[in-house]
């Protein structure tokens, strides 16, 4: 038997539970892992059921009072729309009081005292929440004209990067390593949230955190970008109004536009001047890394860093956008023998690493569900099967970690030739729901959307 305390450690602080060993995390006997997950799930459900109103209502609707098997929780996995189930009008009208009430149904955090009176922008609201609560909301790219807000906590990001440290700084060097961050220094989009944790835990010092742009990736600009894009698709561009508050930020937008455009060339030159030959760590999406390698190639920059650098590309790519050999180009630019691909999503705080047998191994604190795409019901946890990926993140303490993704994946439950015993996903990952408007919550399309919005804004503000 495992004590409740042990289970809480497993679920809440896996790094301690597994004795700081990546190997230990991925070599539990599958049956043992399932037992641990079920026990932890029972604890989490009991603790969160009555503290998260949406979870409680869902459980009541489904008549679920207790969890007896992992599949019992399948009807409680949230659809992605739960994080944007408020009318988009609230953002346009700056109704952050009502948005806060909406948010309070998704989390255990008491938000009743949050005074949103002065909030005149999404950035302002997120600032306020960051400053006065333990919540760290991650927002989506907003490509369909609405914006999801996914609740996480500061602790979750910290713990994630403690684990990343194990991969990047195996000798636990307190000095840290230089981090190459080909994006804005700060922000609250899914990937931008990683910036803070990475700067603190991997770089260790602000001077070792090297960014494309020193400023903020604005949620307001991304929301406006999404609205403009959606309006343009409907032929309604003329009906989008740009608020005076946004108009006043024109200089900021022009600067940001420069960064997303020509800025990458200047960035790689700067990196070549200051970090050539050094060991670095870097995390971004495939398309950003591809663009970075392209900017490097245009300047004759290759094999820029030490071969034991760690490069984490994640987020997939839109079909056909990247050439098949993009990874070779990126590895050649960084000068590493190979990239460390990760499977990650904003809703689930983890970076699931690709093994040498081309499987993304799922971290043990994620309960994986493969759902039948037609019925939404869980498929058996055996063999190799294809379906819709869903997760229950046991580390989630202030929100409910159950989430149904839009990803079509192939999972293999049997132990991997690489030695790991955790379930693994194949590298062919598709998307469900072409007709539903794809608001994939990664940042794959972010740069482009941002560039478009900035161009439009700058044009409109002349």
């Amino acid at each position: 038997m495992t004590s409740d305390e042990d289970l809480l450690t497993f679920a809440g602080n896996p790094i301690e539970y597994f004795g700081h060993s990546r190997l230990a995390m991925h070599t539990l006997a599958p049956r043992r892992l399932a037992e641990l997950q079920l026990a932890a799930l029972k604890l989490r459900f009991a603790a969160l059921r009555d503290r998260i109103p949406i979870l409680r209502t869902l459980a009541e609707e489904q008549g679920i009072d207790e969890i007896r098997s992992l599949d019992d929780a399948a009807p409680l996995l949230f659809p992605h729309t739960v994080y944007k189930s408020y009318p988009a009008r609230l953002l346009v009208d700056n109704r952050f009081d009502r948005l806060t009430t909406w948010l309070s149904r998704l989390v255990t955090v008491d938000l009743s005292g949050l005074d949103t009176t002065g909030c005149a922008s999404i950035d302002g609201w997120l600032d306020l929440i960051d400053a006065s609560t333990e919540l760290r909301l991650a927002h989506s790219s907003g490509t369909t004209g609405t914006m999801s807000f996914i609740p996480h906590s500061a602790v979750e990001y910290d713990r994630l990067y403690e684990i990343v440290r194990l991969d990047v700084i195996p000798d636990r060097d307190p000095e840290g390593v230089d981090v190459v961050w080909p994006s804005f220094r700060s922000g609250r989009s899914g990937i931008a949230r990683h910036a803070t944790a990475m700067a603190e835990q991997i770089a260790g010092h602000p001077d070792r955190f090297h960014t494309l742009h020193p400023g903020l990736l604005s949620a307001d600009v991304m929301f406006l970008a999404g609205r403009l894009r959606a309006a343009a698709a409907r032929g309604e561009l003329d009906r989008v109004e740009i608020s005076p508050a946004m108009r006043q930020r024109r200089a900021e937008f022009e600067d940001a536009l420069h960064a997303t455009g020509r800025g990458m060339g200047e960035f790689v030159e700067r990196l070549a001047d200051t970090l050539r030959g050094r060991r670095v760590a870097s995390l971004s999406t495939w398309d950003v890394f591809h663009g970075m390698a392209g900017a490097g190639a245009a300047r004759g920059l290759r094999e820029l860093f030490a071969p034991d650098s760690v490069v984490f590309p994640g987020g997939g790519s839109k079909a056909g956008v990247l050439p098949d050999d993009w990874a070779r180009g990126v590895a050649g630019f960084f000068g590493v023998p190979q990239l460390q691909l990760v499977y990650a999503m904003v809703e689930v705080i983890s970076l699931n690493l690709l093994c040498e047998n081309a499987g993304y191994h799922l971290e043990p604190w994620l309960i994986f569900y493969l759902l039948d795409p037609g019925t939404g019901l869980p498929l058996p946890r055996t063999g190799t099967r294809t379906g819709r990926a869903a997760f229950l993140d046991l580390t989630a303490e202030i929100h409910w970690g159950g989430f149904v993704s839009g990803d079509e994946v192939t999972v293999t439950w049997d132990p991997c030739p690489c030695g790991r015993t955790t379930p693994r996903l194949g590298t062919r990952i598709g998307r469900f729901g072409g007709t539903r408007g794809d608001d994939k919550i990664t940042c794959a399309a972010t740069t482009e959307a941002l560039g478009e919005a900035l161009e439009f804004l700058n044009g409109a503000l002349v």
């Binding site: 729309t81 009318p87 019925t375 939404g376 539903r436």
Partner: protein, 489 residues
């Protein structure tokens, strides 16, 4: 068990060789093997079809229609029996739509379709237009039809016959049977008739590049009429060039606007809820003309929202009361929509969800004047009632993707018909009648039947009346036209 084989119908012949299994679960002959006779490569062979008098076509269609009753027609009975395996409609609904088929071929209706959509005088030879003549020739046409409603197959066949087109129908995977069964009935009614010899019904997987590249060439096909919008049009557009025209019938969504009068008293509320229920529920909301977002001018204050909630309950009850042959719970309720409804139900600030627990359909009443974020995916008899202060708020929500707008009362429709089209609305219809389809009227803001024909012009001049360079002199056009017209008379 082997997949059931669905033959191809090529110019009156059934073809079954080289069956290939489709993702939908049936087998159909490899389309590449049909290329020998499927496209009409020799345009001269259109002549036999052009010379058939319209009366003969209308009479023949009438005869076919009389044979389209399921009990007496083994082709149709077999199609109906098998169709349930592929369609999103329930067997009860398929039966009731099949019962509509004969009426679509009724001679009076067909003549009126020919008259209103093209003009019979242009169809039956050269029509005098003063100093010249115009004739509507049939073209070589591929129809990529939709399968959400079996009557689309019938409408396509009627339009093709009256325009004397050489017709290749690409069956959809969700209805690979109806067009085939009608075509077989035509072949049996009129074996060897030009109409039979110029009709083919084939299934192939949309986007099959080897086959489509061989088929779509201006020397064989002049028009492609594509239902189903972006998904079906996307891979066709690459073949479009001068000489090969695309007639797109995009999938659209519809809106409903209900004026304040509907909420004046209990009787009006109940009556309008029953009418709106027909727009929501008929054919299980599978059509683009079905109501999804319903704007109600109740006001957006607490009293208005309470009114909208009450009306939403009436609407839900009325949808549930629709008879089985008209509307049923969905065959496959969208699991994403089910999850969305659960979420909204858990959060009562912004939305009120009525029903939906058993996939039977639901009404979501917005408590703020905005539709749900997922309004484009409403299906399985799920409607979204949105209270607004002013009709103008509803009109502003319309765009190029708005097909039908169901309106109550009539006075409001007369007011809206001059403004809603500016925003993109294409059809205004009395509340309760959105799901009627009139083949004799324009569709999607254009006239597809008119575009299926080739409008050929014959102009006549006489050198003794009109000098060949006369038209280059200022002010000469009118006089010369008058003279030539005089002679023509």
């Amino acid at each position: 068990m082997p997949a059931p084989l669905i033959p191809a119908f090529v110019r009156g012949e059934l073809r079954t060789a080289g069956p290939v299994e489709s993702a939908a679960g049936f087998a159909a002959p490899d389309p590449l093997g049909l290329l020998d006779t499927l496209p009409l490569r020799d345009p001269a062979r259109m002549a036999e079809l052009q010379s058939v008098p319209l009366t003969e076509i209308i009479d023949l269609l009438g005869e076919v229609g009389a044979r389209l009753s399921v009990p007496d027609n083994p082709f149709l009975a077999e199609a109906l029996d098998q169709l349930a395996a592929y369609s999103d409609l329930t067997p009860a609904l398929l039966r009731s739509t099949y019962r509509q088929l004969p009426s679509l071929f009724e001679p009076g209706l067909v003549r009126s379709v020919a008259e209103r959509t093209v003009g019979t005088r242009f169809l039956d030879g050269w029509a005098d237009v003063g100093a010249g003549a115009v004739r509507a020739f049939g073209s070589r046409c591929v129809h990529i039809i939709a399968g959400n409603n079996p009557i689309i197959a019938a409408i396509t066949i009627v339009r093709s016959a009256i325009t004397r087109c050489d017709t290749i129908i690409k069956s959809p995977s969700n209805d690979p049977l109806t067009a085939l069964a009608i075509a077989r009935t035509i072949a049996e009614t009129a074996p060897g008739h030009p109409l039979t010899r110029h009709l083919s019904v084939v299934y192939w997987k949309g986007g099959d590049e080897r086959f489509e590249r061989a088929l779509y060439h201006p020397a064989q096909v002049e028009k492609i009429v594509a239902w189903g919008g972006l998904a079906s049009v996307q891979h066709v557009t690459r073949y479009i060039r001068p000489g090969l025209e695309l007639v797109p019938l995009d999938p659209k969504l519809s809106a409903t606007v209900i004026g304040a009068q509907a909420f004046a008293d209990a009787a009006s509320m109940a009556a309008t809820a029953r009418l709106a229920a027909a727009d929501v529920g008929v054919l299980n909301q599978e059509g683009c003309f079905n109501a999804r977002v319903i704007y109600v001018v109740t006001g957006t204050g607490p009293a208005g929202v309470a009114l909208a909630n009450r009306w939403g309950q009436l609407l839900y009850d009325a949808v549930q009361a629709l008879p089985e042959q008209v509307s049923t719970p969905a065959r496959r309720f969208d699991p994403d929509l089910r999850a969305d409804l659960r979420v909204l139900r858990a959060d009562t600030d912004f939305y009120r969800v009525i029903g939906g627990r058993a996939d039977e359909g639901a009404v979501v009443v917005s408590q703020l004047p905005d539709p749900v974020d997922f309004h484009q995916t409403l299906s399985g008899r799920v409607a979204n009632v949105v209270p607004v202060d002013d009709v103008a708020d509803a009109v502003r929500a319309m765009n190029a993707y708005t097909q039908t707008v169901g309106v109550y009362p009539e006075s409001l429709k007369r007011q809206l018909r001059d403004t809603a089209p500016l925003y993109g609305a294409q059809r205004l219809v009395s509340l309760g009648y959105a799901t009627r389809f009139r083949a004799d009227l324009p569709q999607d803001a254009m006239e597809p039947t008119r575009r299926m024909v080739k409008w050929i012009v014959d102009e006549t001049y006489h050198p003794e009346l009109t000098h060949p360079l006369e038209h280059l002199r200022p002010g000469s056009g009118r006089r010369e036209a008058d003279q030539e017209a005089e002679v023509a008379r």
